[in-house]
Subunit: 454 residues, 2 copies
């Protein structure tokens, strides 16, 4: 109930997409329930933080795309977060078992898809359609016919990576000596039809298509569900917000005998992050013209493999981790006023910025040189660094960095020039430690590696 209600009223669509004006969300709660207001408030807080802290580009249309789990214009921090998420997915799926191979197919393809899915999006060249429209002496019927032929011949934007993997099944058989099971992994851009209103959208999908014997397919579906849920929870601050549930029978895809969804509980309701289907062999057969002999694999007896598809929405995944890691802590300041501290406790491997470099009191030219040296050192060690010392406005640095999810803040001051000591503040403990400049790189590298290996 709540979900629907919030979805309908939270955003208005505006045509201007790149407006840099201050964020204004139009909120009209449809009931005065306290819990609903709290949820709305959380959603607004999250999206405003995403814009203020460079995860998202401003503009309501852009924020609405992101909230709906679609690709949008990301700022520098959102770009890095999604890169880190894609990298972790790729590593966990394609680099931990010998039987998964990464592939890359195309986002658009000519000809009809063999999965039997209807054509939804056509990519048409302006030049071609213009030629048809400008032809004189052509009857209306012939015009319609010509346009239909053009559309039929034009490439289709893919809505998932499934078809590409099914096509690559035969060329991949040599890799595995026709031995089951094995999988083909791909990440990339897919299109999402608008469903009647507005423009078609883009979404970044991470897809594993797993080929296995018919009799083991049900166990493999369970295996991959467990693996995937474990993966999502690995990076969560509050793992119980991630859950899995079977797709109800009436919502099953045509080819599928069973489906499982991995779900995240957003403040505005549950949304699907990833879907696993036990698809049988029908689509694979159709893709290869029903040629069983071409598809048969060794697995005790010769048989056509069954297909498990595992498809994640990486854009919505990024949103889920942002939502999951945002902590609001209340504390009293020195004048006993109630303050809210917002911290984005992103998992260390996902956090887009690992360390911020700032200047404290002291001779600024020399301190800046120290910062530049450290920046170079960190970057060479592939530790993503925020050059805070370049900004003139000091202000509430810790507030800002906490909201950016920066793991550590390093402050260089006059003391550093004398003794080589600098201050290191941790996002998660807020504790300030003193550390020697020669130790900081190793400390950061070890911290990130340790978090990666948990």
């Amino acid at each position: 109930m709540l979900t629907l209600c919030v979805r309908n009223v939270l955003f208005r669509s505006f045509p201007s997409q790149s407006s840099s004006d201050a964020v204004q969300l139009t909120v009209r709660p449809c009931s005065s329930s306290r819990a609903q207001e709290e949820d709305l408030h959380q959603t607004r807080t999250l999206l405003r933080l995403c814009v203020d802290r460079y995860f998202l580009s401003p503009g309501e249309a852009n924020m609405e795309l992101f909230r709906r789990g679609m690709s949008c214009r990301y700022g520098p921090l959102g770009t890095e977060l999604r890169r880190n998420l894609l990298e972790q997915w790729w590593h966990s799926v394609s680099r931990t078992t010998a039987q998964v191979f990464g592939i890359n197919t195309l986002s658009s393809s000519s000809g009809d898809t063999a999965t039997g899915a209807p054509r939804k999006l056509n990519i048409v060249e302006n030049e071609h359609i213009k030629q048809i429209l400008e032809e004189k002496e052509v009857s209306k019927d012939l015009l319609i016919q010509k346009i239909q032929v053009l559309l039929q011949r034009s490439p289709t934007g893919r809505t998932s990576c499934l078809q590409g993997a099914l096509e690559q099944f035969v060329p991949s058989l040599e890799l595995v000596n026709r031995k089951l099971p094995f999988g083909l992994a791909e990440t990339g851009l897919c299109f999402q039809p608008s469903g009647g209103s507005g423009c078609p959208g883009e979404v970044t999908r991470a897809s594993l298509v797993w080929f296995c014997s018919a009799r083991a397919s049900s166990q493999w579906l369970d295996h991959w569900t467990r693996q995937r849920l474990k993966w999502w929870r690995k990076f969560a601050l509050s793992p119980s917000d991630f859950s899995s549930s079977d797709v109800p029978e009436e919502e099953l895809e045509k080819a599928a005998s069973r489906g499982v969804r991995i779900i995240y509980s957003f403040p505005w309701g549950e949304e699907t992050l990833e879907t696993l289907w036990n698809r049988g062999d029908a689509e694979l057969l159709r893709t290869h013209g029903g040629d069983r002999s071409k598809l048969q694999c060794r697995d005790g007896r010769k048989s056509v493999p069954h297909v498990i598809s595992v498809t994640a929405n990486v854009d919505r995944g990024a949103l889920a981790f942002l939502s999951n890691s945002l902590q609001t802590l209340k504390k009293e300041d020195s004048r006993q006023r109630l303050q809210q501290r917002k911290v984005l406790k992103l998992h260390p491997v996902l956090a887009p910025v690992k360390v911020a470099l700032d200047i404290g009191r002291g001779a600024s030219v020399e301190l800046r040189q120290v910062c530049e040296g450290l920046l170079k050192e960190f970057m060479e060690a592939k530790i993503s660094t925020w050059p805070g010392y370049l900004e003139t406005s000091a202000g509430q640095l810790n507030t800002k960095y906490d909201e950016m999810g920066v793991l550590f803040t390093v402050v260089v001051n006059e003391n550093t020039l004398e003794s080589g000591l600098l201050q290191v503040r941790s996002r998660d403990t807020t504790v300030r430690e003193t550390m020697h400049i020669s130790e900081i790189k190793k400390f950061l590298s070890r911290y990130i590696t340790a978090a990666d290996n948990v």
Copy 2:
């Protein structure tokens, strides 16, 4: 001359794109010149190797896409090679200077592009155009008008990342305190109109848009040209095949005052890998409605920045490194027959597989367990590994791995079970060393890190 000739005759287009048939290239040399034949032979050898060794999916249409520097269906090795290349580009451009920020915009956008480039590709929903075509009682003129409106409203596929970066200029000003210079980096899918024949294609671009003061723009163009050429050459076996040259005046883009191309000499002629333009401020102004006050930056005096664009074709880049690293060595075998040894000497950071694991003589069950343990260890250390021990056909393993560009081959045999020693063969030296099993992971990690830091 040669280039044109080879391009025209080397490939025939076939409609079937995912055919797994053996590769057959149709070659009809247009002159009997020895050099030309040699070039044709090189091209055929390269592309056949790409298909045989899992860089490319089979099918002539697919190979032709790749040869033309476009995205295509990559096999597991091609996918990893391109990932490594993109990763290196991203690191070198966005993570070595504090002033470059990564962004992510959309591959398709609504509305007209402000760069003034004409709309080329429309993404049209089938449902929408069907509705128009099926309307009865509509005159031909009205029908044409309705289709034109639909096309005007439909999203356009981008042909470069420039427009997205120009739009993100204003939201990015806060990041840098309106201080020049700074840059916005993005990698992603772009579309390439077919130019009359066939289907529009896809290409993966890596783009840096650099904002700087007008008076420094010429120096910045030189700076980035040097940087980029250095980057390409860093991974080359034969660096002199990569060169740069100014774009002749008659080929300059409308907005640009100067352009530089980074070029690779393929066997079939020179092709552009990357283009740098000094674009002035006209497109930036047009994107933001001519509002100078919104665009002004601090840089001595207030001014609208000039734009340098740096755009690489990552698909063609992958092809260039494959072409550049393929070495054909002639040697006599034991029966004094002339043998050709083909080695793909890809740079260690680009090589898609760092190590292959194989079984020599000995008890196969135990040896397999050793291999599985090593595989797990390597994968955890993020060393990309080829599980050769899973294949039954031993055959000419070294030939195969050399053509895959595998850096090292590790052979586990009965000796390993007794003494812990294994054989390590180097692709580049062909020398076989004996090494203890406890040292191999560290050895490989060090080798790769050292190559990365050169």
